[in-house]
Symmetry: D2
């Protein structure tokens, strides 16, 4: 596959936007290989993902020119290059299922990015990370050390030029300050239930309540206390025959697949964030 | 199929319960055709559904004897006869999707019961109900008339000897008093979302929030304000390509299938209520 | 919603197609409200569905002009108007589940078309069809009368100007001659199993084989003996607890939802047929 | 959890079987903790899985006695002890997704058994196997060496006292002779499509055919050329937006989860083989 440019646009809808965008690419000698747009008629907003092969070796210049062009249309735009391998850092704790799953998918070539480091607030998975050839950074965190630990994490992320953080069952809440200072996307995974539960030991609560479905949700972490824009969700059916251990095991499987799909979409430039929601060009 | 007895039992677990129950049936000349039991080891509770063909025409006597026997084991028990056709009353409002679906499934022979009447707080679906050959009772209800209207409903249910009420998108909350006085099961269906929403126009809220899954939950109505024991749940996947109208249409389909399955299980004596949850012997 | 034009295009891929198409619409004063395209890079084929509001009341003229324009691009094209209500004829036999489901969805406003008549090779469902206010035509068919009966069907379809035939569990194979002479789309629904079975009583065979999934497939009927282009498929999980009757019931539910979704997509101009396959712009 | 006995029974159905079995256990001081039975009324066959805690340390004696007892009822029976860790050997080739998935689930404690060795017809995954602390045996196989290679495999399996072989994308057909001589269960995983395809490169064929669902099936390998008794199946939805690579990736995910679930059920004594089918007591 030749190297492409991928643009994610959104802004006020008006006639001619598709023609203007595709016309610009055609006039610059580019060849569109995927384009998907969405018109939110209620909100009057236009969304587009367009991927094209530029003429010759003009990726950087075309990306800059396209940004100017799109801004002139009143659009917010992000342009990335398919040849660019997004630098990913995993934040983990003690649970290893999402960790193994993400690393193995990365090694199998499923992700358009590179895992460059692993950060753990516990040291338990350090040997496994190093076994995969990944640098492991143990940064313990407690109520008292939170600010200092987050400062260490931020310094590391800057040094690594991390472009995406994945909370792979990290089990710690990132402060609003951390998210602001990092200023780049953070993807989180958590369990979801119908109906929802507050408090700890959610699978025990779900079992006690006799729920028939358990779920998982992958979303961007945001400064607000509520969960951020949802990228992906899925559920599995359970019955009274499943004990708490079965629910936890099924939950692990959901967390793995839901998170991996969200990460894959993000790395392929398929997720456009708009207010509190996402548009996923899958 | 010969006529059977169906018992739903639960109580403190202890060794020998399965042997005692199956032994009793064998000694009384019965032939077990289905038996399913569940031991909740955490709570120390035994649950069983057992269905058998009694020897000869002894159904009523055997049912009574079995109740005494099970009580002697410390079990709560319900015994029903498969030949008995549970008398069902539908409560509806203006939406017709669950109404049509339930009536057509009943006519197709999918339900072990008889729909004996339809009650509407609006008259809109009266002609359709009568077109299906079903008596339709228009009992309007408003904040002022609620007590009087519920009294009318209760009188009707008693006159009809109704054994199950299905709220097929009835859109009114039954009072705790109504539920107590009726004293028999009431099954309700409502939409469910991940995350949950409060307030009106839930599909509009879900669309605005960008949810990726919409769901429906069938449950028994209870006196408590929160929803009662869950019988069945299901979800459907949605994307930004689906408008609010699509979400509502998909919601209708979920409501139909989730409610119909819950009703089928209830009528076949497969749902055992235990505290706030159900054990479904599907 | 204003009335729109919907074009389905496909042909040899080359740079600038999206720009040309959207440019043409813009220049003619149209406003694109949905556009979705797909590039099959292996086959070198471009597929597009584009829907737009023309300027003023120029639908018919713009449709004709667009056809000429698209042909000039080397594209095969179909253009329809959203205001046009496709004329649909249902072919049924004795099974009524898909029949009721389609008619009720039509009455609920789910379909962009009109059911104008019902044809049955048995008279069983005639009264129900008339109860829905639909003309019912009883055209019996047997091995001996097949040619004559199909001639009657064709005459009726021509008289009604039928644009789509839905085989809603019609249980008869249409001859290649019939399909050629009708010359318009015919959608069929049938059960599907993993692994596949030949011969009669498929649900009995599936039960005997212990399959864990049963399925349904909606496809266009074609002259070839094998099944035509697939529009939609779905499956349901079954266990040993499900008897043959349960499999048949679950199969009915699958057939209803899979067929209804296929019909909805077809009527909204979302299904592009390409060789033996479809591209569904859902 | 105390150590239990697990019996899988089947044979001609007749009244009193449940009472006889549970009575036997009760009389021997055992405590049933799970019991599930199924009556195939058409075939007249009784199936049961019963799990109980024997009185004291009498597992081996009780297992032997129960076998005699069940044979006396005309039942075929298998009795295993939950404390026994089934000895599992993985057969692999070059694909690593099922291999990693099974080993990591085993290490996470999801399987009631022990992986004791890995056999590969290629050496590619040897280092990874050893990295997990597993003995790896490279036994190349070709058309000419097939008999000799299978003899080596059989010798190894005997030496290891292997009780289950899992073909984790092994890509070689085991000879009928191998299966007879091994005489113990072999579980295989393969892709499944609706409709089915013959020949190579199945995902390419599925893509060319425009299938909307891809699937995977886990089954016992049998001497017959057709596939053996099905243990588990699942499907995933695909659209024209998914290229062949996406189908292959989704197929890998299906293969992993379908195979792991089948293995988990087998190791927990939940799968009863009966003729060409299975009864899974999940």
């Amino acid at each position: 596959m030749p190297s492409t440019l991928i643009a994610l646009l959104h802004g006020p809808d008006r006639p001619g936007l598709v023609a203007r965008v595709s016309g610009w690419i055609f006039e610059h000698g580019g060849n569109i290989i995927h384009a998907d747009q969405h018109h939110d008629h209620e909100a009057g907003v236009f969304f587009q993902r367009v991927e094209w092969v530029p003429k010759g070796d003009t990726h950087a210049a075309d990306a800059a020119d396209f940004r100017t062009f799109a801004a002139g249309l009143g659009m917010q735009v992000q342009v990335s290059q398919s040849a660019h391998r997004t630098r990913v850092v995993l934040f983990i704790s003690k649970a290893d299922h999402c960790f193994h799953d993400l690393v193995l998918r990365w090694k199998a070539g499923e992700f358009a990015g590179e895992i460059v480091a692993v950060v753990g607030n516990h040291a338990d998975l350090g040997a496994l990370a190093r076994g995969y050839g990944l640098p492991f950074h143990h940064i313990p965190i407690s109520a008292e050390t939170k600010a200092a630990s987050e400062a260490k994490q931020l310094a590391l992320l800057r040094k690594l030029d991390a472009e995406l953080v994945i909370l792979a069952r990290y089990m710690q809440v990132l402060s609003a300050d951390f998210l602001t200072q990092f200023g780049r996307p953070v993807i989180n995974i958590h369990h979801s239930f119908l109906p929802a539960f507050a408090g700890g030991r959610p699978y025990h609560q779900a079992h006690a309540r006799g729920v028939k479905l358990i779920g998982a949700t992958a979303h961007y972490a945001t400064r607000d206390l509520d969960e951020g824009p949802i990228i992906n969700q899925d559920v599995a059916r359970v019955t009274h025959r499943h004990g708490v251990e079965d629910l936890i095991r099924k939950g692990r499987d959901l967390e793995k697949t839901v998170l991996a799909q969200a990460v894959r979409w993000h790395l392929e430039g398929r997720v456009l964030i708009y207010g509190h929601k996402t548009v996923v060009f899958d």
